[in-house]
């Protein structure tokens, strides 16, 4: 049974192939899960979704693939303030870095892009002579809804 390999290959798959890496059945599945994710997924969620597409995907392969994508700078790893144990979450690396805000009450994760953040990174590179490869800015606190809810 052929895989839905004719679907648009997706940027992740194209990127990996252009780097001379082998495109296995398992990798294709894991990449598609990561690419089509509508929210931040952790390794076990990725495994579960991958198995729905092909029960022949191992936990270890998920870890190895995530680590590969991370090494190649194609995905970012998030901690989301460790609100749900010690899980790590993953998302495709975006064009422009963004901030993750985690509400300590309702658990909602929101994202925010900011010119100030871009300028701050520039300042770090200049003032500290530090060549930035990856950044992670996470903020814990209370979102607008939960602020008004608790004020009521």
């Amino acid at each position: 049974m052929p895989l839905p390999q004719t679907e648009a290959p997706g940027r992740l798959q194209a990127e990996l192939m252009s780097r001379g890496l082998r495109m296995t059945r398992q990798r294709r599945i894991i990449l598609s899960v990561v690419e089509t994710a509508k929210q931040h997924l952790d390794a076990s969620q990725i495994l579960r979704k991958a198995r729905k597409l092909d029960s022949q995907v191992d936990r270890v392969t998920v870890y190895r693939t995530l680590s590969l994508l991370k090494r190649h700078g194609l995905i970012d790893e998030l901690d989301l303030m460790h609100m749900q144990g010690e899980k790590h979450f993953y998302e495709r690396r975006p064009q422009r870095d963004h901030i993750h805000m985690a509400c300590l009450r309702c658990g909602k994760i929101s994202e925010f892009e900011s010119n100030l953040f871009d300028r701050l990174k520039g300042q770090i590179q200049r003032d500290c002579q530090f060549h930035i490869v990856v950044t992670r800015l996470e903020v814990g606190g209370y979102c607008a809804q939960c602020r008004t809810a608790s004020a009521a």
Copy 2:
């Protein structure tokens, strides 16, 4: 054998006592380890240092004390870009937040305070109506030394 309890109690101990928490022998030791740390320590390093002062400190007590301090906002938890496995590192919460930069080559951790960072936090609070409790900005990349070293 009395403990060196007559030493200046330290801010952490004073803070906890002012909040009506019991000051046990174990807590005093763990607090002093955290307060006098010259670098970022993880839980197992804290345990080891605590045991040097009193072999009667349990691993669990270290975890519980760190979690207590974190809940009370007296220490911050760092991931330092997960360069050394999944450890978490701890430091006393400073007056002013700072950025942690982790060199991916030599592993050095440097810190940086920035007005832009302060302004960015202000922007988040305003634009997102998000009440910030804690922030963590970690940057991975290459420090000045390692940049020049690899250019050579």
